[in-house]
Symmetry: C2
Subunit: 203 residues, 2 copies
Amino acid sequence: MTDEFECDRLDRRRRAITDAARALFIEQGFERTTLGQIVERAGGSLATIYKLFGNKEGLLDAVVFEKAASGENLIREITQCGASPADTLRRLAAVLYERFLDPDDVALVRIVIARSIEDADFARRFFESTAMHTRRALERTFAQWEAQGVRLYGPPDMLAEVFLGLMVSDMQTDAISHGVVARPSAERIAARIEFFLRGAGLA
Amino acid sequence: MTDEFECDRLDRRRRAITDAARALFIEQGFERTTLGQIVERAGGSLATIYKLFGNKEGLLDAVVFEKAASGENLIREITQCGASPADTLRRLAAVLYERFLDPDDVALVRIVIARSIEDADFARRFFESTAMHTRRALERTFAQWEAQGVRLYGPPDMLAEVFLGLMVSDMQTDAISHGVVARPSAERIAARIEFFLRGAGLA
DNA sequence: ACAATCGTGTAATGACTATTACACCTTCGC
DNA sequence: GCGAAGGTGTAATAGTCATTACACGATTGT
């Protein structure tokens, strides 16, 4: 009767709880959200939360890494469909803007950062499974192009860092800091890509 | 008898309290730091804190904006000493790395972000008085160079965004997220600057 | 020195919330 | 239908901490 799976009653409960928790965490942050509010929205009871997630932090863990896992294959799909480097980077930029500036994603990153003050390892794991993942995938792509005879101004790891920094890091930093960031226009994105291609020796 | 000023007894008290508060906020974050701990480290009493800062948030405000104000004239000093654009940007990059990756600064930004979940305006004010300030100063510098006949590939506001994004945003994002970020080597910084100069048409 | 001002130390207030315990009721296999 | 397994709702536990109140002692201007 649910939308996707129905393996078990517990699975439905689990899903309902993480959905409610994610929404509330995004609205109010982790600390201000009480387990009572989550139960109120998801139905069920406190005891179920403790049975499924151990404690409040376990619930945050589940919420955050569920979301982080959902973007894993993104880069690979785009970089492996054989388009030219320039076209690949153009398409990649569009996807990165979409993903990294998504308000829910930004809110989750804020929560991870806030939590990281008390639990640095939590943030490191999140960071490793998102930003680092993206960066290394891109680095491999540059290395692959180089192996195919494309001449690049600079080593793949630097180019990967620079591409990501150039495209979204500054805006993501602004967004995370609650600066008012408008989604950049298509022309603005295009200008940044051309800038990158010139700097990398691809144009 | 104090190091700098001694206008008043209250001023000394104020300084001692914000110093202790800053250190504790950086160590533990805002929420986990109790006013009791601050009193314990700074001496004095709870009543004094309430008299000087109103409440705990007022104290955070004082700590954060005291630090933010200290970097106001940084860009202006560097951009107005008449060096060539390339040299100016080189020197600017060094200063930005120094400042934006300073662990205490990064810890404060984390605190601002955490707080911003509950008070978005707080973060906006911080952001306006730091990152936006830097960006606009840099934008004016590019516009000035253009007016002096330097030809640039792209409008000053885009170049300012791109320069900051390229130099430090990605690393600052990593640092804020508790990713392990090594201070980049001189060669790495130099490579990024050359990358920017190529992209901007300055080399 | 003196008195008034003002910071200090302590303790009380009041509210909040993660976590646990417990007694019902629903669900599912048979 | 029946009985066990396991959610559910409620309430108790227990600790924390911002904030306020208050009586005491130090400091300062005269």
